[in-house]
Amino acid sequence: MRLNTPLVTLLGGAAVGVGVLVASMLQPSGTASASGSGATAPAPATTVTVPLTSSAPATTPATTSTTAPATAPATASTTAPASVPTTASASASAPGTSPAAVPTATASGYAPPKADYVGRVEGGGAAVAISVHKGKAVAYLCDGHAVAAWYRGTAAGGKLDLTGKNGARLRLNYGSGKAEGLVMADGVQYNFSVSLVHPASGATRPPGLYEATAVVHGIGIKAGWIVLPDGSQIGSVEYDPLSAIPPTAQAPVLDLATGTAQYDGVTLVASLISGLTGSGF
């Protein structure tokens, strides 16, 4: 009887598939892509070649003063001019001199030691939340789908330059009214200029950054929600957050009244990360 070669092809492919599947199951999670981890985002970072210096507060005409953040320690003068008339008139009026200017220790350059900033990125496709508490910073970017990144690090002099997983990057200047900069993760890059969250008296769950972790069916998950001042929320949840590239999807809705969300039959209890109070730091 002639060999049924199409069937051989089909079964051969199935055998290859099973082999790859078994090899995948035997790989400890997180190590499989060790040789390639961390490289997805830097690759796109090179294609999005806009350097920080020109793009950070790119919305403003005071572009000359924005070169300073990358080079000069004159941070006080650079936080303000970015685009916000509210924070500084003094340094914004002299964009040409700010690169060389000594930090003007005025209120315009004030970087609060405890602050939270929340808002949508330029274009509105995602949201970013930054919390600063006495020299430490936590930040989160998410688009409510597959783009989500946590950033942790130190804050000094009104500037943050944080890195996250897989080449994620967050660079910004923050002041008494706004935080502005650019954020990169999962191959996307956003500019943003987000406002300080003013402590709302009496609100148990104010706008800000919330996180929850749980183990669901044996896999760790980490959810993050950014609740915006208008009450809307954007949240993403990562499967197996410790793996090299955790799959990310939309988070279940966070019930602000109870501070919980339902995920796959498990109740997630969200906690606020607040630079003002220090919770989550």
Binding site: T5, L10, G12, L21, M25, Q27, P44, V188
Partner: protein, 190 residues
């Protein structure tokens, strides 16, 4: 295989189509199984990587592109085999080319599919991933059908080209919702 003399065509056609039932059921079962597995099991993230590529996403995108290129060879060789290319006579090796390009395309696609299914699962969070998930399941079902009906005799003449066209279309759709998107988003390189 029972050797039956071919009866006059009209009597055979209905029985010919009947031979498609079992392969179709098997193909449907394959597609359904992949979809259910993808949906029910919890994805664990990226699983396989090959040194020399910057990330598993690139491994998969390049493998998928290789599979699609060989699938184009498939269509080209099929057109020649069926005499659809004017003034081109099918050389003796065209059948072998068709078979082997098909095998290479299929075997290139399998590790990509396993990585997708196991690492990412059947996802619905965006239109692109939903279409990709559906097409992925359908592709392996359709390919199974094509492999299973190939050795059968007495089928209507349109079944094999149709099966091939469906497989090809699904694969191209898969490539557009994955590798094309990936290269567009992250750049074309290793």
């Amino acid at each position: 295989m029972t050797a039956q003399p071919d009866a006059p065509a009209p009597e055979r056609v209905s029985l010919g189509i009947g031979k498609l039932i079992v392969p179709s059921l098997i193909g449907g079962l394959v597609a359904l199984t992949l979809g259910v597995y993808g949906r029910l099991h919890h994805p664990t993230g990226v699983v396989v990587n090959i040194a020399g590529f910057t990330s598993a996403g690139y491994v998969k995108s390049w493998l998928a592109t290789v599979a699609t290129l060989f699938a184009i060879v498939q269509v080209g060789s099929a057109l020649v085999m069926y005499g659809k290319i004017p003034r081109v006579r099918a050389p003796s090796w065209i059948g072998t080319l068709h078979q082997w390009s098909g095998r290479i395309a299929f075997l290139s696609a399998v590790p990509v599919a396993v990585d997708c299914l196991y690492g990412l699962g059947f996802q619905t969070y965006s239109t692109r991933v939903l279409i990709h998930s559906l097409l992925g399941c359908a592709f392996f079902g359709a390919f199974s059908i094509k492999m299973l009906i190939l050795p059968k005799r007495g089928l209507p003449g349109w079944t094999l080209p149709l099966a091939g066209a469906v497989v090809f279309t699904l694969l191209v759709g898969l490539w557009f919702t994955s590798a094309f998107w990936f290269f567009s988003t992250f750049g074309v390189h290793r």
